[in-house]
């Protein structure tokens, strides 16, 4: 229906009866600086407090010295080598956990987004509120609640034990000692949970935009519902899926709240190392090098992914 209204709009505006005032050229000169004036304060803020700090970070990573005696820029690249040698397991773990949480999020987020977009009827708005509702409570408080949910005396753990899911997880190497807390599983489940809305909302947005007439046409041409999904719905939802995976993967790779509150020393993620090096060990060059490597590897991974997602290979 909105498409029809839109079509009507174009025809009525096209003759230009009421368009912009005729003295557009005169106004243009006055307006030339308007966008820059609008941009100036915000862009200055981002330049000074986002872009410049990145330069400081890079510079710090190449300095030597100590916090008391001051640092000097010596282009000491060895810091990078040492830092990577010491902490590559935490790096790999972070990317592994983030990737697993992203895939899990897509697997459980897709049916949810699909159901809200196509099956919810008048409940649509209510369900959308439910998707963002967990956000309303501070996410540290919710992560603490997961400690309760996953603790040994909780019904969830009993359920996992009775149904044999615990054995499956143990077999997969995700848990140990017949408990959920302080395991890989707990950290990944926490990451999946915390970033799920970031997966569901873009997916929903792209599914919602889908023209149902396309599916009707597919049905008219004797496509089964599954073929319709495979050839129409899924490909058209790919932009949402790509956005959702990025919005999940990037923050999950840098997160350390889940691994700290739900994991153990065996599940330490790289964010926790960076935090500790900066705020407890006070080894700024190492911490800056780790932080810089984290960002570069994310940029690299994301650009490879986006390039591949842009081609048919992913479809």
């Amino acid at each position: 229906m909105s498409a029809v209204a839109h079509g009507g709009a174009t025809t009525s505006v096209a003759p230009g009866a009421g368009g912009p005032p005729p003295d557009a050229a005169a106004e243009k000169t006055g307006r030339r600086w308007t966008p820059y004036l609008l941009l100036l304060p915000g862009m200055l803020w981002l330049a000074i407090f986002f872009a410049v700090p990145m330069v400081f970070l890079a510079s710090t990573s190449l300095q030597t010295g100590s916090l008391e005696q001051g640092y000097v820029l010596t282009f000491h690249f060895q810091t990078y080598v040492d830092a990577l040698q010491s902490y590559w397991p935490q790096f790999l773990r972070s990317f592994g956990y983030a990737a697993t949480a992203t895939i899990a999020g897509a697997l459980i987020g897709y049916p949810l987004a699909y159901a809200i977009a196509f099956k919810s009827g008048k409940w649509k708005n209510f369900l959308l509120v439910l998707v963002i509702a967990p956000f309303f409570t501070s996410f540290l408080i919710r992560t603490l609640a997961w400690q309760t949910i996953l603790s040994n005396s909780s019904p969830v753990v009993k359920f996992f034990q009775v149904t044999g899911l615990m054995d499956v997880l143990q077999f997969l190497g995700l848990t140990s000692n017949d408990q959920l807390m302080a395991s890989k599983f707990a950290v990944i489940a926490g990451l999946t949970y915390n970033f799920l809305p970031f997966m569901v909302l873009p997916l929903y947005a792209s599914l919602e935009r889908l023209d149902p007439r396309l599916l009707e046409a597919a049905g008219d041409l004797y496509a089964s519902p599954f073929t319709g999904f495979r050839k129409i719905t899924f490909p058209l939802s790919l932009p949402g899926l790509v956005a959702g995976t990025l919005l999940t993967f990037i923050p999950a790779a840098g997160d350390y709240i889940n691994s700290k509150l739900l994991g153990s020393t065996n599940t330490t993620m790289i964010g926790q190392v960076i935090d500790g090096q900066f705020l407890r060990v006070l080894d700024y060059p190492t911490a800056a090098a780790l932080s810089f490597v984290l960002m570069l590897s994310i940029v690299l991974l994301v650009s490879i992914y986006v390039r591949r997602a842009g081609t048919e290979e992913l479809v």
Partner: protein, 268 residues
């Protein structure tokens, strides 16, 4: 025969069933937070259900330091929201309404903070502040919060401006409204819901941030998330759950109210 029994019912409703399960997963922690706000724990930690009690609700500030941290977070959240909303809305208007040189560069600078892990943003700001010799505290937290909230404001407000029907502004101009009048009486009121949504988003991002804040705070500027983080190792007072429950209920009420208002307006 096979297609008409419970199997076909299941096939019809399998997506709804999965969605219901996912909702349970998403809302379970909130239920636990609410439930455990009525607990009376034995030790310092509030993990196991012991006894029903409304103590924490009657004395929400009894947990030492918690209400101070809450007040600080509210103050920072409010100021960061004002800063980020003003700066971001101006940028959004520039991007949505003007064609100018450097537009794609601007878009990139807006996008990057959203695509940078928090730990990198927090630590790079720390190196800046340390390098410049700026003392850490409320001001540095505020600077950081305005920075990372701004991009979200720009995106939210820009979407609203782009979705506006240009004919409404043209109609105002046709009726001899000048540019200023058109902006104040037509454009701004139409964009206002987007600005309000952006402000709410900013506030919740600022109020909830731990990682970036922790890098740019001092021992005298403990925000609410920092307080919770500390409590996670020292002992979690039940009052944390009370605040969590209040946040949940207040936000739900606000969203419900907004839905009601917009629904009524749409019908009118």
């Amino acid at each position: 025969m096979r297609g008409q029994g419970p199997v076909s019912w299941l096939r019809e409703h399998v997506i709804a069933l999965i969605a219901a399960l996912v909702f349970q997963y998403m809302l379970l922690p909130n239920v636990v937070v609410i439930l455990f706000s009525f607990n009376k724990p034995n030790g310092r930690f509030n993990y196991e259900w012991t006894k029903f009690s409304v103590d924490a609700w009657l004395h929400p500030c009894a947990a030492p330091g918690m209400c101070q941290s809450l007040a600080l977070s509210l103050r920072i959240g409010l100021l960061a929201t004002i800063g980020a909303t003003v700066l971001g809305t101006l940028v959004a208007f520039a991007l949505a309404r003007h064609r100018f040189r450097g537009r794609s560069g601007t878009n990139l600078l807006i996008f990057l903070p959203m695509a940078t892990p928090e730990v990198v943003m927090g630590s790079s700001l720390l190196t800046l502040f340390v390098g410049l010799g700026l003392p850490l505290g409320t001001n540095t937290i505020l600077i950081a919060h305005i920075m990372f909230c701004m991009s979200f404001v720009v995106v939210t407000v820009k979407a609203r401006i782009s979705g506006l029907d240009a004919r409404l502004e043209q109609a105002a101009m046709d009726l001899y409204a000048n540019e200023r009048q058109t902006f104040m009486r037509v454009t701004l009121p139409l964009v206002a819901p987007g600005i309000a949504a952006a402000a709410l988003l900013s506030f919740s991002l600022s109020f909830d941030d731990y990682i970036i804040t922790n890098f740019n705070a001092s021992s005298s500027s403990v925000t609410f998330p920092m307080f919770i983080w500390g409590a996670a190792s020292r002992g979690t007072p039940v009052q944390i759950n009370v605040i969590g429950t209040m946040m949940f209920v207040l936000a739900l009420a606000a969203v419900g109210g907004a839905q009601l208002v917009s629904g009524r307006r749409k019908r009118a």
